[in-house]
């Protein structure tokens, strides 16, 4: 009985030795499926460049568990112990990967917030730029309108000054300048040289206000027949017209008209009255007024 036991024991030992030898010959290392799975997971985590910081700590824990598992396997410890380390290695390797994912999305959130601020800032800048443009346009508009008002006022003042300078008379038809009879000899239509000064001022005015046109009207005293005086009045008006065009005023700005002896301004019975009636009136028409205005 005792011998049998010994022999059995020896056989078992021998068998074990043979199997170990065979294992060694086949160079098959001891393996553990869970440990191999853990090795793959750890390798994945190691290959992930995003694994850093806390995730790196988890990866180190996983690597240590894997090493312990390898060592335990090598020492031939029970699969339960090896599995335990493999389990830990796998879980921490997964945690390392999740940690990397976490860091990635946290970075994405931070980037996104920066982008949001940029968008907001951009929108605000656009808004501000738009407001500035509007304000600027408004200011320019106001400035322009103020300038226009000032110009108009200045223009109006200048016109008044210029008209006053002409010593014109404001009537319901406009400003009338009377070129007195002293400019014409009785029965003559050509201008005396003394008229020059008044006409110079009129030309200056017409050059400064190119939209103002003139109507030139001739008048006579009652000496002589109607036809004679009508023609004479027209010739006097034409004479003034010729003087003006001769000084550079466009002919289309001038209308002439003869009134003969029909519109006296004074008594024809006296020499003084007749003198006043022999005259040419230059009517300065309002801007845009028809040039054929008549009395």
């Amino acid at each position: 009985m005792k011998t049998l036991f010994h022999r059995t024991s020896a056989a078992t030992t021998l068998a074990a030795a043979v199997s170990m030898a065979l294992a060694a010959c086949a160079t098959t290392p001891r393996t553990n499926a869970m440990l191999e799975q853990a090795r793959v997971d750890v390798a994945h985590a190691q290959a992930n460049p995003q694994v850093a910081g806390d995730a790196k700590v988890d990866l180190t824990t996983a690597e240590q568990a894997l090493s312990r598992g390898d060592a335990l396997l090598k020492e031939g410890k029970s699969p339960q112990l090896v599995d335990h380390q493999a389990y830990l290695a796998e879980r921490f390797a997964l945690a390392a990967q999740k940690g990397a994912d976490l860091a990635t999305s946290q970075k994405a959130i931070a980037d996104a917030k920066n982008r949001r601020n940029e968008v907001l800032l951009g929108a605000r800048e656009d808004e501000a730029a738009r407001a500035t443009r509007l304000a600027q346009a408004k200011t320019e508009e106001l400035a322009l309108s103020a300038q226009q008002t000032a110009d108009a006022q200045q223009h109006s003042r200048d016109l008044e000054t210029a008209l006053a300078d002409l010593q014109g008379k404001q009537t319901d038809r406009g400003v009338v300048i009377t070129l007195g009879d002293v400019l014409f000899a009785t029965g003559r239509a050509d201008l005396k040289s003394g008229s020059r000064h008044t006409l110079d001022k009129l030309v200056t005015f017409l050059q400064a206000y190119p939209k103002r046109n003139v109507q030139i009207e001739g008048f006579t005293d009652s000496v002589g027949g109607d036809d004679y005086n009508q023609v004479l009045s027209e010739r006097r008006a034409d004479s003034v017209r010729n003087a003006l065009t001769g000084m550079g005023i466009a002919g289309d700005r001038i209308v002439t008209k003869g009134h003969g002896k029909s519109s006296p301004v004074a008594d024809n019975d006296t020499a003084t009255g007749r003198q006043q009636n022999r005259r040419v009136e230059v009517l300065i028409l309002d801007e845009g007024a028809p040039r054929t205005a008549t009395r």
């Binding site: 988890d58 339960q80 112990l81 335990h84 389990y87 830990l88 879980r91 921490f92 997964l94 945690a95 999740k98 940690g99 994912d101 976490l102 999305s105 946290q106 994405a108 959130i109 996104a112 917030k113 982008r115 949001r116 968008v119 907001l120 951009g122 929108a123 656009d126 808004e127 738009r130």
Partner: protein, 124 residues
């Protein structure tokens, strides 16, 4: 001298006795504490919603670890509690990662909306 030895023996004996009195099986307290804390953290991180699998595994390992402790199998209890900790830790990180990824998508969407609104409001 003999007297001292006697007293000393009695002292040692009493300690042993006290130890015997507290003979409710004590498990690996450090591992237990760590695992419990990790489960708490995982739950606070939203693991119930975002990482159910590892959280459930952790809680189950915790139960098994406490059962092993009750049976007096300290080494097995320690292993189970270590695994419970690893599960809970994974659950926590997974939940945080899932939530963060969702947040990132939301923020991204928000920016797209914002960009659209901004470009709409700028073009007159």
């Amino acid at each position: 001298m003999k007297c001292i030895q006697l007293v000393s023996a009695a002292f040692v004996g009493s300690i042993a006795l006290l130890g015997g009195c507290a003979s409710t099986p004590t498990g690996p307290s450090t591992e237990l504490t760590s695992a419990k804390a990790a489960i708490d953290q995982a739950e606070r991180a939203g693991a119930r919603e975002y990482a159910t699998e590892p959280l459930n595994a952790s809680v189950q390992k915790m139960d098994e670890g406490q059962a092993a402790t009750a049976k007096g199998d300290r080494p097995q209890a320690r292993r189970l509690l270590e695994e419970s900790y690893a599960d809970a830790h994974l659950a926590q990180i997974s939940a945080e990662s899932a939530k963060s990824s969702k947040d990132a998508a939301d923020v991204d969407q928000g920016i797209h909306t914002l960009q659209n609104e901004a470009s709409r409001s700028v073009t007159p």
